[in-house]
Symmetry: C2
Subunit: 342 residues, 2 copies
Amino acid sequence: MKIAVDAMGGDNAPVEIVRGALQAVAEYGVAVTLVGDEKQVRAELGNCAATDLVNVVHAPEVIEMRDHPAVAVRRKKNSSIVMATQLVKEGKADAVVSAGSTGASMTSALLSLGRIKGIDRPAIAVVLPSEKDFTLLLDIGANVDCKPHNLFQFGMMGCLYAQKILGVDNPRVGLLSNGEEETKGNEATLAAFPLLQKAGINFIGNVEGRDIFRGTAHVLVCDGFLGNIVLKTGEGLAESLFKIMKEEIAKSALAKLGIVLAGAALKGFQRRIEYTEYGGAPLLGVNGVSVICHGRSTAKAIKNAIRVAMESVDNYLVDSIRDSITFAEKKEVDCANAQGSG
Amino acid sequence: MKIAVDAMGGDNAPVEIVRGALQAVAEYGVAVTLVGDEKQVRAELGNCAATDLVNVVHAPEVIEMRDHPAVAVRRKKNSSIVMATQLVKEGKADAVVSAGSTGASMTSALLSLGRIKGIDRPAIAVVLPSEKDFTLLLDIGANVDCKPHNLFQFGMMGCLYAQKILGVDNPRVGLLSNGEEETKGNEATLAAFPLLQKAGINFIGNVEGRDIFRGTAHVLVCDGFLGNIVLKTGEGLAESLFKIMKEEIAKSALAKLGIVLAGAALKGFQRRIEYTEYGGAPLLGVNGVSVICHGRSTAKAIKNAIRVAMESVDNYLVDSIRDSITFAEKKEVDCANAQGSG
């Protein structure tokens, strides 16, 4: 197994990316191809490049966060993300991992790898920690405006990911909405509801915003506009709460002492809500394995993303999605035919 | 000034509602009309009913949370929320406050009071605490699918509310979106952007989810589907974080001691993020003052909501919205005419 890693993507590139890749090599025995500015990458690698499991492919260009993804991917053919994705296309790598521009990762995957037959729109999924275990939220930004059929396919793909990669037997799939009742929702979710109901998955209906972090659903479906805003609202709120708490604690010596005493418990708390444990956001629906990481990813997050990419390959995620969508579409056609002849 | 209070609405009715109303009477010298089951309300009032500032209107029916709002408001003409709103319509009260079903409050207001001329859709606004001061988010549930023109009007109304009731001189108005750039957004927000830009308000453009609690914007505009989910995501996340933290702290005696020492600071923290301070969600765009409270409202939240209702009346909020919308529409027509003749 070989994973192509975009060594130049993310706020902490190439340092943390290279470190994370080396940790994955050491821990999982996987081979990695680091794609990026060869001089910088080799400087980071130091003596570690001596192993057969690490090689470097020089990419002279980088797609920056300020670049327009669709334009940049077409113009910067020699950028690290485009070249890394191309390795998967050419069969020289099994999967690609990047912490660079999400839009660039997605456009590269769409142009190089294409979509899985039957999938209209790929989606980006993210694993959020919850009180119980986790919630897989999708789409978090690939598709701003979604049709009911897209939401239905997100549910199918999310369900498979939860089964195959997150190890949940019969994942609860929910539709993110403004109320639990079947009558609640906007135009798109109201129309997606019956599609998901008939999908042959464990569809638990509408799920409210307050239930995301309770772990009510293993898989939570929404359009990419809503998903992006919900995800960032969560990140922002957690940051603001800790900031305000720190300000209040800083006012009192007693409180500072208290927090020192509570230190171990607070670390345990932090571990439980840490997103880096879950390792990146898979791009579901493209014809190959592509894992997108948070721009602020540390070495640990990169290592975990590589693990997720490996598991996706090992578990034939792409083939499973293709089969299940083909089956679902066939069932729909059969149903339509049966209704037509009835 | 007299405020009609729905004594039967909310999880803690009538106890906390009556208490909150009495606190408002004592603190602000306002008159209140408590609308609800007379026996229950009088029992709660005890000897306090002796003042001229408190009177009770008997309402034999209650709209329950499980009732369909639009149907229930039409059928239960003698319910507390319908009768309380009717008092405003008849000029027997200046404003109405309820912690019952949001949908019932809204439908009552729409049927009894009607919309302000020129406003297509009223919106529910909520004041969220932020790192700096607050963010007024609207709509949080009155309108699931919104047209660009609706979002524009929400921005205008929110701006006026921030000026007149929240005391901000030149409020920063933002559009909740999936990216800061002008090119980011869904169909509705992309089309609303130029409308808000030309509105003659301090429009700061798109604002991301992570900036809601930073206080980047004083007023943040979105459709009611998104607003509801964002609000509940925030509530749910805060609850889950505290729950996980408590679980971790409970594991260690040292941590428990630490939290006791940090107690005062944590109370200060709690005060800063406490929504009850801000007192209810105004229903903006109806032809009268209606303030909707959280179902879990305590006496303090009810008292603050009554204060908000008083300030809305004192500051001629309804007239201001009418004037500003008339002016905006006139400007649009003038622009169109000028372009037509140009």
